[in-house]
Amino acid sequence: VSVAAAVVRRAVLSTSAALVLATAAALAVGGLLIVAVGVSPADAYRTMWNGSAGSVNALAETSLRIAPLLVMAIGLIPALRAGVFTIGSEGQFGIGALTAGLTAVSAAPHLPTWLAIVTSALAGAAGGTAWALIPGLLRAFLGVDEILTTFAFNFIATFLLLWLLNGPARGEGSFLVQTAPMPPETWLPTFGGSVANVALLVLPALVIGMIVFNQTPAGYRVRLFGARRSLGIAAGARPWRVELLTILVAGAAAGLAGWIQVAGLDRAVFATVFRGYGYLALALVALGEAKVLPTVVGAVLFAALQNGSEAMQLGVGVSADFVFVMQGLVLFLMAFRLTRRGT
């Protein structure tokens, strides 16, 4: 137990502390940017705080962003540990949202409530996995670089979704580019009176599951494989399996996150389901150095920044695009911890 405690303490002290410092530094630079556009940084940051953490409602709103981001990020951890840089979460998220939404619409009338929810969750995960399959196979068996293929698949997903929502998947009699609304029994139940939903309860299980996986022999092989391919292979990792499975796991998680998005907040699938969460999740895992706890800290920080930036745009007229500058800076600063020492 004391060893585990020491490991936990070191993880929190090192990467997570650096992450908080990097965020503070980014906000300091951001303050200059806010001054440059003629707004008082004190006003701007007060609005940001109030909008993201200043009240129970704000916290509940922030939690709605944490859930999909964190699920996607946790799913990316094995891939980044294995040195597989899949940036396909964005597209897999959209496809997962679509399969989950359509399943909810068509299956709900025939199933008991709990089964309808579980079925649409599984459909979301299956959709995300399916969308990851081709880049995964190409990487595993032909050595085609996953960065470029997964990125291309993100674009293909946006156009595919647009077409499906305009035609085959469009809600009957709908004038809008969207599916039919999901029946209320497939929505994620919320906590008494707030917008926060039960997806939050799934997060601890996923977090603990990933911490445990990293300690298993398989998790160890994945990490060895990423650190030095030959070592991983010597330890029994088969390259194609590591590459394919890590990409598919990331896809399943992204699809599940898509389900959380539609069942927890959107309650129908819109063409605007793409929010850049996929890219943010990847940034989170990269800056968390593919470790679980820093990734959790990062997800909370990023979700709060995101929510706060929108409040800031409404409140003091500083564009919400500010958040990407902050997130880019945080990731840039954190990258200095990932130097190519000894290689």
Binding site: L138, D145, I147, I156, S319
Partner: protein, 304 residues
């Protein structure tokens, strides 16, 4: 057979002409990426550098009314973001992928943010027009394609030739190749790997910046949220397919641009839904990477 006839009509002279136009931004960025990759730095931040160039070029042209000054500003903006890449990936030897990805977010954020804050103050303008080459424009085939383009097109060709000569025929080119293939040996032979890589990454940033400006100054006369729309990643894909050889990079850019131009003409051909047409160039990228994998696996990044 009618489908083939339709496809024949799609790839007409006018499609090729607009294909060449659409190829410009990606081609410029891809020339830069080739230099950077030859020097051993995989520059994933290209998209961000295009974004700041697109905005910087637009803002300065809008303020000064001078497109040449705007292009210079775009190059400087791209190089400024590339300076962060130099400081991270070259000087401190950070993980290139993570630093590059950070610069994508940062560049997109900066471009979109600065535009959103200054939108009211920045007037739109007429994009740079085609050069008037007099009678030359009447030459069949060549007239409407190669001889009726704007300054960015000819700038791209000049920069492409300069880059190819620089890499193949100069001492600097040899130092770039040495730094990229064997930094240890290069250092032993007295080459400053750090200096060579820094200059190459800065060149990539400047070229990507001009590529961004080719969109805002050269074709739209305005800016818009995420206006580069993934072209930086397309450029990286083209460089992978062309294996950093400038001539092939330019050819690949033209093919991609022509596919983009053909989208509008493909409506109704073979029953492909209109919404799916913009996905075609991306499918082509995947297929190109796939085809190449059969001849030789693509390793963009040295295995860890």
């Amino acid at each position: 057979m009618t489908v083939f006839a339709d496809i024949g009509a799609v790839f007409s002279v006018s499609v090729l002409a607009s294909g060449l136009r659409l190829a410009i931004p990606t081609a410029l960025a891809a020339i830069g990426e080739s230099i950077s990759q030859r020097a051993g730095i995989f520059n994933l931040g290209l998209e961000g550098m295009m974004m700041v160039g697109a905005f910087g070029g637009f803002a300065v042209t809008s303020a000064t009314g001078n497109a040449a000054v705007g292009i210079l500003a775009a190059a400087l903006a791209g190089a400024a973001l590339a300076l962060l890449m130099v400081f991270g990936a070259v000087v401190r030897r950070t993980n290139v992928i993570v630093t590059g990805f950070a610069l994508v977010l940062l560049g997109q954020g900066l471009g979109n943010f600065l535009y959103a804050q200054n939108q009211d103050r920045l007037a739109t303008f007429r994009p740079v027009g085609e050069l008037d080459l007099g009678r030359a424009g009447d030459v069949p085939f060549l007239g409407p394609t190669l001889l009726s383009q704007n300054a960015f097109f000819y700038l791209t060709i000049v920069l492409g030739v300069v880059a190819a000569l620089l890499l193949a025929r100069t001492r600097f080119g040899l130092e770039v190749a040495a730094s990229g293939s064997d930094p240890g040996a290069a250092t032993a032979k007295g080459v400053s790997v750090r200096r060579t890589q820094s200059l190459s990454v800065l060149a990539a940033g400047a070229l990507a910046g001009i590529g961004g400006a080719a969109i805002t100054i050269g074709s739209v006369g305005n800016f818009g949220s995420n206006i580069t729309a993934g072209k930086g990643f397309v450029a990286i894909s083209l460089v992978a397919v062309a294996r950093t050889r400038i001539g092939w990079v330019l050819a690949a850019a033209v093919v991609f641009g022509t596919l983009e131009a053909a989208e509008a003409r493909l409506e109704g051909v073979g029953g492909v839904p209109v919404e799916l047409l913009p996905a075609l160039p991306w499918i082509a990228v995947v297929l190109a990477l796939l085809t190449l994998a059969f001849s030789r696996p693509i390793r963009l990044r040295s295995p860890a």
